[in-house]
Symmetry: C2
Subunit: 379 residues, 2 copies
């Protein structure tokens, strides 16, 4: 028997309560049965996003929400800034370019976080910049960007939208949409929200809706104005992904029972313990600053291939984490502590890593990292 553990930064494990709620017979999305379901989901998302804005619910992956954040609010030729410090920063750039926007990348070295002053300088230099795109957590490097700090900078530019991809940060980080002036924030189901993939969530500020009125890009599936009109009636523009939305309510119920502050604390503690365990093992963190609460990117020792670590963990111990992407491929192993995660997920992840590294010939004193995690996570 090879028992399976999913410790990747998405998809993440789905709690049995949520799985069971989604195994109930289907209901019709245009029937009165569904209205309270969607009403509850939209209010729950507002609570989680810490916003009074509409939070749209789309039948797509998070990337669909990112596309909608571009094609509903901009026009071809618009100048925008993208904070590009990893694989998902690159995705913002690619989406904007696919739609004909003029992108200026604010390049951040992989493993480092954006300095808000760099964005302030870029905005000062070019007042025509219509939007600033960033990841809250850059999943490929395990870095959390300073969203609050960026918000303070962008607030000074009434014609510039602040767009945050919080797909892998939501639930794990305390992100205050309204307080920090985030105009558009994108989330996805299969990360902190503990759901299968298939839903995107997008909050939109009044400032963004107003700017969106001037957008002339072709749109149909990701037509946010129509989604907003439907949301007001507790509907979605096209067929709702009813099963996932039912699961969403169940997941939000679990988070609300725990309390938002406790949810953030739990993620912060798990992430802290994972990092300290990694250091106790003498390994380095790939995130040189501002490590995220969602995922820990662990540098592999010289001579150890991170992809082989990933593969061996899967095949020998049934543990699915994540390797590195692009330029980090082979150099790192990523361990997530995101969503339905507790103390023993971190301990399992660290214990297995110790065993595999030892197996691969690295000098490891078994239990060193585990003991550090235990110490930090003792209640």
């Amino acid at each position: 028997m090879l028992k399976r553990y999913l410790l990747a930064p998405g998809p993440t494990p789905v709690p049995p309560e949520v799985l069971l709620s989604m195994a109930m017979p289907i209901i019709h999305h245009r029937s009165p049965d569904f209205l309270p379901v969607l009403d509850s989901a939209k209010k729950g998302l507002q609570w989680l996003f810490q916003t009074k804005n509409d939070v749209l619910i789309l039948a797509s992956t998070g990337t669909g929400g990112m596309v909608g954040a571009v094609n509903n609010f901009f026009n071809a030729g618009d100048k925008v800034l993208v904070v590009n410090g990893g694989k998902f920063g690159e995705r913002w750039t690619k989406i904007c370019q696919a739609y004909g926007l003029k992108v200026e990348d604010v390049v951040v070295e992989w493993g480092y976080s954006i300095k808000p002053a760099a964005v302030a300088a870029a905005l000062k230099k070019d007042p025509e910049i219509k939007g600033v795109f960033v990841q809250a957590t850059e999943t490929s490097t395990g870095v959390y960007h300073d969203i609050e700090g960026l918000g303070k900078v962008i607030k000074n530019y009434p014609d510039t939208l602040f767009i945050v991809d919080a797909i892998s940060a939501l639930v794990a980080q305390d992100i205050r949409t309204d307080e920090w002036g985030i105009d558009i924030m994108v989330g996805g189901s299969q990360k902190g929200l503990m759901l299968p993939p298939g839903l995107a969530f997008v909050s939109v500020s009044e400032k963004a809706w107003k700017k969106g009125e001037t957008s002339k890009m072709p749109k149909f599936y990701f037509n946010f104005k129509k989604e907003r009109e439907n949301l007001a009636k507790n509907q979605t523009n096209f067929t709702s992904a009813v099963t996932l939305i039912i699961g969403l309510n169940e997941a939000i119920k679990m988070l609300q029972k725990e309390g938002l502050e406790n949810v953030f604390k739990r993620h912060a503690m798990l992430a802290h313990a994972a990092r300290e365990a990694v250091k106790a093992l003498g390994l380095g963190l790939y995130s040189k600053e501002s490590p995220s609460n969602s995922v820990t990117a662990i540098e592999m020792p010289a001579g150890i291939d991170g992809q082989l670590v990933y593969k061996t963990l899967r095949e020998k111990y049934g543990i699915t984490g994540a390797g590195g992407q692009d330029k980090a491929k082979g150099k790192i192993y990523r361990l997530a502590h995101l969503g339905y995660a507790d103390t023993f997920d971190v301990i399992t992840g660290i214990a297995a890593l110790e065993m595999v590294l030892k197996h691969m010939g690295h000098d490891v004193k078994l239990g060193t990292g585990v003991a550090k995690a235990q110490e930090l996570l003792m209640a």
Copy 2:
């Protein structure tokens, strides 16, 4: 206790086997666990679509597949024909217009089916037409369009693509993608495939791929070239909706066990029985020709509001069918027999309709429609 019955033309009931398969712990879409799952799904879809073409699997509703059928193969300004005989014909027109195509509607009166000769005449008149869009089943009117006949016409135009929305027809109708020369065919999960909403399927012919090379429209989420490259590696371009794809395999397994010919026969028999039962009750069919095997659109007697019939069936008997849309609103009630449907679904649907009509003051001899359905469905 109000036991619930879902007899709407999508979402349709999901079999317990499928629900349970989707309640299993989640697996990672980029892990080796998922490759055989996607491989099996794509082969199963080719079997169901009766095609050797790639069948792409998208995390969206069927409408997302329709959008992709436009933005991957055409350019703004391209002239296209849309067979417009109902609410979903209108959707093709709206999507094409949203992307700047020049649409010529071949208008078909609601309740009637397209004459292939009308399309032949339009193509002959304007050889610049780059595509012909149609629904296989126009769900709003319950009409099945002659896809085979249209294929024979369009085959004569090597530069014209034939695009079929088979979202509500798939599984219920024998549609031969390759034999009939369908270039692009779109399906959805929540209809005949007996799954929750959230997946679109799109088959693409070599002719369409070739034409697609000239398409310059902005695309990112629905980028079919990238989906094709990923499909060859048993992946999807963005995070796969793993849970739904696992359910898809389970649903296809059920259909394969029954056999494709038997699946079509079952739908044809159920639809025939529903129509004959309706006639036995002295009611008219809204589909004046070529009624579909997916859904029966029933004309309401004078003085009976179809919306009230829908509402009363739901509230009094727990049965969710569908009313009419737009110009058919109030005039019809639609009873589906699609996907996970058998003899007793039709009998239940007809029996309840008899009871509600009698309740609303219409002169009904209880059991008349039911007896006709019984007679026709006796094994």
